[in-house]
Symmetry: C2
């Protein structure tokens, strides 16, 4: 970012940079401009009081301080009134600003046509957001604990289920992915989390890692439980996957589980500040190759090893085929897996914070396949 004026526009529920910069959660759009020590937020008069109390910005003004209501009346067009107001705000800071890659083209065109030069930075704040503070790590760790409580709940239901007519039953009723998912969601909701839609995927269908899972769970099938909720309080995400089986596992699954566990251990050994993220991924590939899983046929590893987690569930750094230097304070998942559309899937995922000498695992939960 060479231009010192930073301009963010949007709502802080969907724009994480805006939330990161203001610590103020609002579903309706507002404007944030920063230049050195001046950190100005311009918001609807409605939200003024809450913004002064809750936001971390040094200055809060309202749309009407920039004539918004009159502009709507004069121009008869909310969209034009909005861009004129944003231009007035920016002009206080100068004739140019740095914006995100996702900055809305409509507003960009309008600002440019009025002589505001925009520098578009697709990586804006990404590096800054990667280096988590102690407080941010604590928020993620807390979310991870809620995730583990939900996971423990789901696994204990699976462990207490019984086979009846070839299908798992719990409390006398067939145990489905939907029922387990509901239990996970309720546990997370009780803990103040937004549960999203957890993956509870059993059997061969789980070989598609985007499948959320549905239907009765069969004994001997692997069940992938991937839970990635967001704290409603801190807005930080957590992410954890365990794979378990109830009953005698299908042939091949136990060997796949061991390979994935070893791959994860190998990956974790590579993690420390200064390392190339690619090396972490390659450590996983080496274990799978060694174990004979990189052939045309049979179980395969079909995604990257991990990703950053923060105010977005997926953020930098990626642990995959690209070069990226790990930084102290990066919070990343380490989640190797093996997928076979004939057999099923195994994935094990921990969430760790990168330190100078290695990592601290934010995940406490045990790893046991047969429950």
């Amino acid at each position: 970012m060479t231009n010192p004026v930073l301009l963010l526009v949007g709502d802080s529920e969907t724009n994480q940079n805006l939330y990161y910069k203001t610590s103020f959660l609002a579903g309706d759009p507002f404007v944030y401009v920063e230049n050195g020590d001046r950190r100005l937020m311009v918001i609807t008069p409605f939200e003024q009081g809450r913004a002064r109390q809750e936001s971390s910005t040094s200055e809060v003004r309202t749309f009407d301080d920039y004539g918004h209501t009159e502009l709507v009346r004069e121009l008869g067009d909310r969209s034009k009134a909005w861009s004129t107001m944003v231009r007035r705000i920016v002009k206080e800071f100068g004739d140019s600003a740095t914006v995100e890659g996702s900055f809305p083209v409509h507003l960009a065109d309008s600002l440019r046509s009025q002589g505001v030069a925009l520098e578009v930075d697709p990586q804006l704040l990404m590096l800054e957001r990667r280096r988590k503070s102690d407080e941010q790590v604590a928020a993620i760790a807390e979310a991870q604990q809620a995730t583990e409580r939900a996971m423990t709940q789901a696994i204990s239901i699976l462990a207490a289920s019984e086979v009846h007519l070839g299908v798992l039953h719990y409390n006398g009723i067939p145990l489905t992915s939907e029922r387990l998912r509901s239990e996970v969601e309720l546990s997370l909701t009780r803990d103040g989390m937004d549960p999203g839609t957890p993956v509870i995927a059993a059997g061969p269908g789980a070989a598609d890692p985007h499948w959320k899972g549905a239907g009765p769970i069969q004994p001997g099938d692997s069940v992938v439980l991937d839970i990635f909720p967001r704290s409603k309080t801190t807005r930080y995400f957590a992410d954890c996957t365990r794979t378990v089986v109830r009953g005698e596992p299908r042939p091949e699954l136990a060997a796949m589980y061991d390979a994935v566990l070893h791959a994860q251990e190998a990956a974790l050994r590579e993690i420390r500040a200064g390392t190339n993220g690619k090396n972490v991924h390659e450590a996983v590939l080496a274990v799978f190759r060694e174990a004979g899983y990189e052939r045309e046929e049979g179980p395969k590893f079909i995604h990257s090893t991990g990703h950053g987690v923060g105010l977005n569930i997926h953020e930098g750094p990626g642990l995959g085929i690209s070069d990226v230097e790990l930084l102290e304070g990066d919070v990343v998942t380490v989640e190797p897996g093996l997928y076979d559309s004939q057999v099923g899937a195994i994935r094990i995922e921990d969430l760790v914070v990168v330190t100078k000498d290695g990592y601290r695992n934010l995940t406490q939960l045990a790893k046991e396949f047969e429950v």
Copy 2:
């Protein structure tokens, strides 16, 4: 929209136009291009199978059909590879396209620099999305029913609470906004809804309509319950507000409640296709004026009368000070309220679908102040 080629880029969890056009829910970005009968979706190879099954588009291709993997390798920059790929896709359709106002500036700049002319339409698909089909209305009505079950649950807890040492208690424990909110969220989660953060705001603090509410609930205080969840299945929102009091209401509250109820009835009488939305708002203002609520001091109406509801919780048409013709199939809230920072707040909100001759109320729930 004068340019016949429509281009949407983003993820369909946050981009509602994209979900509207594809019926395909994905958290990772993809590309949609439409020209007459050709409706093409280009997505990661990962999601190909699911996209073919679930999406409503006529054609599904993958990023690699446009050389994405090689582009990442050649250019060494994911952002450049992405924009080059999008340009290749668009070029199949011609040299120009219509995009949303929120289209990312980074991608817009790249396309334009390669000779693609973009027509930016801030109102893209807004009119089309306002006219809800029977199926869409049914989805909203279903979400509204889940909302009413959660509301009934909260109200029944309030009704069963007892005063102890001046504070409401339920099951022997002080009844707080947080506890009631949790019950509402659990009910919605059980019903497959994403609960968001419901407003459970009691006492004078509720005079700020953006306050979510916190702390013990006092007998005699009005409690505003505003619940607006989203169906995880259909992605449509619902929206409902009731205000209740447990115990003898504070002076002024009962009169405010009556005025709000009458204002809502007056507003509903105005609703039919062809009417100006402004008239609906003015009907509310007239009732409040008549009841003496438009003075400097005392309770005031401080927001618009309603808004459209669909794949966004706030969409067109607004029922406020602007001119807007109501259309058959519009689904709108009707939610007058009165706010007084000394006394508290009253708001009553129904959700209705606009018909040729009037409206159909999607809300079944009774309106009773004292419980």
